[in-house]
Amino acid sequence: MDFTENLFNNNLLECNKLTKIFGGTTALNDLSLTFERGRIIGLLGPNGSGKTTFIKLINGLLVPTRGSITINGYLPGVETKKVISYLPDKMILNNWMKVNDLVSFYKDFYEDFKEERAYDMLKDLDIAPNARLKSLSKGTKEKVQLIMVMSRDAELYCLDEPIGGVDPAARDYILNTIIQNYNHKSSILLSTHLIADVENILDDAIFLKYGTVTRYAPVDQIREESGMSLDELFREEFKC
């Protein structure tokens, strides 16, 4: 795809009949959707609905069984990794490192990494730059990992459960960081179960059920149509 074509193709992400099958289990089924730029998108669904599978496909950690996914017109690969900042659902930090080693590591790896932003956030959350990762609590490690991800000037942030393991005060800080980093060029995809906490900051919500999208609409539209909050609607639609 040449540059001019890229310029006019405003969709940040496109999937076409995206399907992923693990053995006999269909994790994602015929997913077709697009992301515009400048949106904060919630990926919502119960356990096992395909949220992490979708995010891994975006990041090229899984290969589709059928269908396709493109970011900025590119298949997942070197070009897309330059513009996607990914927070996995697992801890990926090396325990032997210190926090400032990690900052240098990210700076070395990603051209768009903003060292100053990382240190500002570490300071805000009272995390010592010379602390060894091994010595940090689980919640603090999650904060560090998120700081690294949010310190990049990416076009798409994929955050898999960014607020699950941290305390409510840090949660507020993280959500404010997301709002503050918001710009018209980039979008944020975040998956979570904690819908009540994120619903005020979302533009759009995607409801995923057994690997199928059952809803993809602006949050205010969903509230207007259903007369319920996203959280209430979720509890109703996914009642066990």
Binding site: G38, R39, I40, D172, L175, N176, I179, Q180, Y182, A196, E199, N200, I201, L202, D203, V219, D220, R223, E224, G227, M228, S229, D231, E232
Partner: protein
């Protein structure tokens, strides 16, 4: 004023209501400059696009106006502000009456109670 957003109403409507209150109460006086969209969004912990939408609607209502280069301002027209104040008051009175009706009071009874 603290931002208290409830769940069952669209957020932009609640933001509009909140900003109307802030203007009527004088927190943002007539002719004053409003904080930026981003600052307001952070303050309210809401999405910047939603804040933008609420501000645009208030602009359509004439309560605020934007100046391309220097941001958004509260209207200088006091009558617009007074009308908004009156509308907010009517809304509160309606809520009050509805609650009193739920308690089983008739209109004359309510007025009687108010006098006491």
């Amino acid at each position: 004023m603290k931002w208290n957003l409830s769940n069952n109403q669209p957020i932009y409507l609640q933001i509009m209501e909140h900003l109307r209150m802030s203007i009527v109460s004088g927190e943002y006086p007539a002719g004053s400059r409003l904080p930026s969209v981003r600052d307001l969004a952070v303050e309210a912990s809401v999405n910047p696009n939603t804040m933008q939408r609420a501000l645009s609607q208030l602009e359509n209502e004439g309560l605020i106006y934007s100046n391309r280069t220097s941001g958004r301002f509260v209207t200088e027209d006091e009558t617009v502000i007074q009308n908004t104040r009156r509308d907010l008051a009517s809304g509160q009175i309606r809520i009050f009456y509805d609650k009193m009706h739920d308690l089983g009071y008739s209109n004359p009874e309510i007025k009687e109670l108010m006098r006491d």
